[in-house]
């Protein structure tokens, strides 16, 4: 197992290196740079002044040199300075991480709480009214973009209650209740979509497992429904669900941009888009690398969970 993890971590390093090159080059071949943006906001362009700024920021150098400089800084633990705010990039990124992580974790929790039981119920009551209702609910969840749902939720709240979640971020350390009230609706809006996906995967995996011989044997032995369904069937049906959970979590970290915008949450995803528009290279590079690390770690965790869920899976052996 240790050998497997080491091998996967080494592959992860190579993957991240490749990612870093792609994002670095893509950002630099996009028309316009930070100096353009600065002059854009001022509404005029003085070529001499612009070149001076490009020199100061080091963006006049060849791309390989800029890339090597950035990697060098990364190895020293320095994430560079935000061009836009002239602050260390880490100072800009740090307060945004907990916001996105909290939203993603809450959304995942909701999606699991709703998606797995509904998927199981739908499978064991196949083609009965409850199955049809749950399938419609899940189809609706897949059809409605979470940002649209978020907007509708906000409009409904303001119309019916004259209240919406706080538009300025409330830290859980300062006021846990207010924080949860702020995150509840965006997490539900995002979680509903994910739960629909999880429900459908759970349902189809369960339907497959429920037809297996060992399940029939368990029924024949007179085991209780809860034991058959939740202990035997669900455990064996959970491999595709775990895979999906890993993918969904990784997706949520970078994919919450519109939800964060609609609910005015100062998260990573929303800021990433602003940083891309502002060509704030250090912030974009480091945020994308952070998301890439989450994706790699989520994939690794999923693979390790496989072994725990299914003892037949052994890593590190031929």
């Amino acid at each position: 197992m240790r050998g497997y993890i080491t091998k996967r971590l080494l592959i992860a390093v190579v993957t991240l290196l490749g990612m870093s090159m792609v994002i670095f080059v893509l950002m630099r071949i996009t028309p316009g740079n930070i100096a353009d943006i600065m002059f854009e906001s001022a509404g005029y362009v003085d070529q001499a002044d612009k070149q001076k700024i490009e020199r100061e920021l080091g963006i006049d150098q060849p791309i390989p040199v800029q890339y090597a400089n950035w990697l060098g800084e990364l190895t020293r633990g320095y994430l560079g300075k935000s061009y836009r705010y002239e602050r260390p990039a880490w100072d800009i990124i740090k307060p945004r991480l907990p916001v996105t992580l909290e939203l993603a974790c809450l959304a995942m929790t909701f999606s699991m709480i709703l998606g797995i039981p509904f998927g199981v119920i739908s499978a064991i009551r196949q083609d009965r009214p409850i199955d049809y209702v749950l399938r419609v609910v899940s189809l609706a969840g897949l059809s409605m973009p979470s940002f649209w749902l978020g907007m509708i939720v906000i409009l409904l709240l303001v119309r019916s209650l004259g209240w919406i979640p706080s538009v300025t971020y409330v830290s859980p350390v300062d006021d846990l209740r207010a924080n949860l009230a702020q995150f509840l609706f965006p997490a539900l809006a995002v979680g509903y979509r994910s739960s629909a996906l999880i429900m459908r995967i759970t349902r189809s995996a369960m339907l497959e497992v429920l037809r297996e011989d060992y399940i029939r044997t368990a029924w024949a032995k007179g085991q209780r429904e809860t034991s058959v369904v939740w202990r035997h069937a669900l455990k064996n049906a959970s491999l595709p669900v775990i895979t999906l959970l890993g993918i969904e979590f990784a997706f949520l970290i970078g994919g919450l941009v519109v939800t964060e915008t609609v609910f005015n949450l100062p998260g990573v995803a929303r800021y990433l888009v602003e940083a891309i528009q502002g060509r704030d290279y250090p912030v974009v590079q480091n945020l994308v690398m952070f998301i890439a690390i989450i994706v790699v770690m989520a994939n690794l965790s999923v693979d390790l969970l496989y072994a725990w869920v299914d003892p037949r899976i052994k890593y590190g052996k031929a």
């Binding site: 700024i53 836009r84 705010y85 002239e86 004259g162 005015n264």
Partner: protein, 534 residues
Amino acid sequence: MPLRRFVRLIPVALLLVVALSLPAPAQAPKSGGVLRIHPLSAPPSLSPHEESTIAVVQQASPCFSNLAYYDPAKRQESVDTIIPELAEKWSWQDNYRNLVFLLRKDVKWHDGKPFTSKDVKYTFDMVRGAPDAEARLKVNPRKLWYENVEHIEAPDPYTVVFRLKKPQPSLLPMLASGYAPVYPEHVPLAEFKNKCIGTGPYKLKENRPGEFVEYVRNPDYFVKGRPYLDGIKWVIIKDRSTQLAALQAGQLDVAGSGWNKANAETAKKGKPQLVLIENDSNVNDNVLVNFKKAPFTDIRVRRAFNLALDRKSYLVGPRQGGAVFGGALLPKPAGVWGLPVADVQKLPGMGDSVKQKAEAKKLLAEAGFGPASPLKITVSTRALAIYVDTASWMVDQLRQVGIDATLEQIETGVWHPKMTRLEYQVALNLTGVGIDDPDAQLFENYRCGSQRNFSGYCSEEIDRLMTEQSQTLDKAKRLKLVNEIDRKLQADGARPVLGWGKQYAVSWPYVKNYPQHDNSIYNVSRLQDVWLDK
């Protein structure tokens, strides 16, 4: 009723009538509370001298003071509504060639250091790019405003003299703009990217980029009894529907920055007790026609373009009734320098749509374009909704006269560089002017070689007239000259103005004294007189 009794009642009735006709006694302002408001967008910095967006002026103004400022209570800004701020008084000398300011002696910077004339000299030497300036701005968008300043002197700690190369009455209005605050000499310029040390009514409490800018009352503010508020919180909300919901849910006290008429009316419809204020503004929708590229070197083609764009359809279409018509300067009654109404009615595009389109087709045919060989053009615009709406309408109007027009959306980051390099054929642009003043508007946008003269228009005659009006001291004569310039610019199709958009502010009724000016959105954000009746 006996006559005597009736006569005795007359004085009582008269007294009653007089009492009822008297204005209600003004409510005494209350102190306290924090004003929550959303700006147009997140500020790229808190340094107005380095930026050209209203977002920065809005959010930095509560921190700073000017030498002089426009009176928040007077809706129409003019040279007559300029009131002292850091300067106690000023006087023009030597026939408008020297402007002398006598400064207040009781002003402290937010860090406790005293304010002196050195700070004024430091600031305006830096902005005008003086060779011996102590600091240099990385980006200096309003250097042009001060190019007539020859020298700035600070003979003693409380006197400043601006010496001009030529008379220029517009210098004072420029110094009163939200774009002309005084910076402290002792604070490095780079700090204004994220912080703010000023002399204004509010001190910066916290600036979280992209989230909010929060101020608290400055207890040492030099205007006694001000500000009324304990603080201001500019909450950055990107999504317009969230801004609307936040206002209706009471999480904002004032909203409306960047809203159109429909947004403001929707907010009011949801909460009828909200107060909606509509104002004119000095931001216009204009058409950039590239003077350096054929076929726009041909005046017939430029004229055809101008005629094809039916202004009345623009008003009801993209602007939804929220605009007024005018030339290069904001029209009357909101504007001071705009063309008279009779002239505006005669501008190209203002007449009968059918006749004008027919004339446009005729002009195009004379220039060699017709159904067999249609003029193919790309209409460029910035990829922002407020631009794209009008540009799409423009494409439709041009197609109606047989021009094969297509829309090109340009990302914000490369918009101005492309315009400056004249890398477009025709473009739809929005131009905001810091102050309603001919010098600020004309030199920047129409003078030969100006960096913001995005159409490449150049006329020696106009340049000469611009300089002449700038030095004209008699206001009536100057207005006549400015109107003459405006008429010529419109006839040349220099930068056809479609209209001047209106602005909207929607607030809860307890917000009092929230300033709104009819001819500028840039000079109203000090907010020292605002109070909350809670």
